[in-house]
Point group: C4
Chain length 239, copies 4
């Protein structure tokens, strides 16, 4: 069962790190009732939290380990099922050179997609936009890569206070794996986004490492919650 | 006092498991002020949290233990009173072959029964319905049993994204034990439900094991909270 | 400094118990920014949390100890000031034979007094009333005493589901000690209440022991929060 | 690297204290996604949390240490960047003789600046005002200094229940360091304030020691949250 792949005394080993992140995300309401997930790409391998496991109780031995290039599983815990998010995590790794991808079922994420769906904050139902909130500066352009100038001359680094944050929204489908096509299309259509919202479902967000993915996830969730509160107060998300 | 029934070093022994669940549920606001409860059926016995005890301080020695078939108590802690939920837990065990039943006083559960009572989300006051929210997939059809096809050809497994979740609502009564009749009637009338809401009171939810009962309880509470937020935003629960 | 009065290895010794309760209450938002307090009457003495101390950091050596009959301090930590709630705690001990009194600055308590003040839930601005919510059964009649029939034939025990919970509201004043008169008047005018709300300030609640005071405080705070949510949804507190 | 500056077994050593405060503030949603910060002035030095670090994971070795008089860094962790709040912390230290300054991205702080911006609670968009809420008594006049009478005869000590709390609001800018001028102007224009709100950004609050800064930050955040709830209920902040 290749247990050596998931055994380490280093708390930052992906197998330990995923469990610690899941415990934290559970307290935020992001991975309630076995929803949501985390994946870390490390060296040649990808570590993925399984489907249907209580996230706050996860153990390193629950993790699936896949070889990134071949997409073959090096470790498959018996009894457990691979995460349905796996193709979506892979999309972020491949298209953004990300090293960590997080999927949450945050209620705030779901609510902003519902407000958008109802056209309550503007005509474009397929994007969440917000401007001039300081926390926007916690979001990077694209969410991975390095500090060099990217192709096409697009800007690198984080958004500025006067920038408008735009996160695309794709429609949910009956089966999570079927989201891969539209998720990849959104990633390509929105080169500056580090995340994609899934209507009535939640959020996918990635980063060049765990710290970036996790802190961006926090900043996005903060902005989603603030947006719902602003909406209740009759305030516009984009000035 | 048959302490051996509740003493074990195994954290998954029902006596330990109930205490751990209660500590967790207390942080969710589900078992505030001694309300709510948990029961686990294990082997020949049923383990039940007592009435009137602070749930986050519960100890294995506080538990009542009943022999399932005879309904006789094998262990009755002195001073403490048996849970008033006991007949309701038994209804879930008997009618659904459940192994764990959870009762919460979640405010979100109470609020959706109030919104329904006021007819604010449709004409049927006696059922909570919601559709097309991803978290619905965390709810099973019936909440117990196995993976084989059930009698009558009804579907097994969890709900799908395009299914409508329906949870029956029964009226509260002066004494909790008196709910047994209407709870059993609801269980029979709604073969696909894994839970019953009690108006102005809370939720009963069961599962084939602790994991299913607990994760379904989480998913339901998430959906109740989301439903209240959606209602505040003027959004319909059923598309 | 009579340290022996506050040193014990028993977690239920009042000096330890008050600190543990304060840590818990801090997480509920009840004792934010040094507001709120707890007092336990034990044997011949009264143990009181001091004024101006961060409640979640409290140590047994921070406590004041007063002899109940003489009202003389047996222990006064240097530097610290006695709690301004002291006369109010004493009112509950003397008039209700209580053994524990809790004072919170819960925002839910403040909000229900504001809704009442604005006449938004009925004509009587000086009482918080709510009926037919199961959690009401967590509230006792009077909050102290024993199981015998009280003078005047008033009923003993907890409220029933069909009873209406009524908590009197008194007006706040510039100095907390000045509330003593109106608090005592409310206690006398409302023999069945175990608590008094102070407008724009918070809640005083007592019990025959710590468990009753603490669980009633939880149930009341639950009902206050639920009441605010019900009010936002346009629902009446009293059916 | 002058590690001796940040190594101590004393939990109240600024290097340890800042980390402990950050862990606590993270749970309040004040320092989400690396936003916010804390600085403590101790002896001849100033200890400052760095930019871009996950606040709940901070270690003493992450801290910058600056000599107060010369403004020269005695310790600069490699890789990390100094906090952009540094000039703003220094403004509080210099103009108020403060010893601790806290910066939060609290959503409640942001929301009250948005309600004010929209003129929804009165004509003065550049100040947050609230009166007759008991928690106001947790706020000092000025937030530092001592108990002697200040120059100009202004009152010392905390606000009273019948006082009106007024916190100035300054406009946010693209770069945090650029806020120094307007922050200093607000500090001078409002000699009784212990804090300044930054529109769409958050809060700066200081105190004569950590306890005062931290407890005032708690009381302000309580008042901001209460103000948002009051506003939703159609209630005026100033009676």
């Amino acid at each position: 069962m290749a247990d050596s792949l998931v055994h380490s005394s280093d708390p930052l080993h992906p197998a330990n790190h995923i469990c610690e992140l899941c415990r934290k995300f559970y307290t935020f309401g992001w991975v309630t009732g076995t929803g949501g997930g985390v994946s870390i790409r490390h060296g040649d391998n990808v570590f993925i939290a399984p489907s249907g496991v209580q996230k706050e109780l996860m153990q390193p031995t629950d993790l699936f380990v896949m070889e990134y290039e071949s997409k073959k599983y090096l470790r498959r815990p018996p009894v457990l099922k691979p995460s349905a998010c796996t193709p979506l995590f892979m999309a972020a790794f491949e298209k953004r050179n990300a090293r960590c991808c997080i999927h949450t079922h945050s209620q705030w994420a779901v609510l902003v997609t519902l407000i958008s769906e109802a056209g309550q904050q503007g005509a474009d139902r397929n994007v969440f936009s917000i401007s001039e909130i300081e926390q926007i500066k916690g979001i990077s352009r694209g969410g991975a890569g390095s500090d060099e100038i990217a192709e096409g001359g697009r800007k690198i680094g984080n958004l500025g206070y006067f920038d408008t944050l735009r996160i695309p929204i794709i429609e949910n489908m009956a089966h999570e794996e079927d989201l891969r096509e539209t998720l990849e299309a959104a990633i390509e259509e929105w080169p500056e986004t580090c995340a994609v919202l899934v209507r009535r479902h939640g959020l996918y967000v990635w980063g060049k490492d765990v710290a970036q993915a996790k802190t961006q996830c926090e900043s996005l969730d903060y902005l989603f919650q603030l947006a719902v509160e602003m909406h209740r107060l009759g305030l516009k998300w984009v000035k």
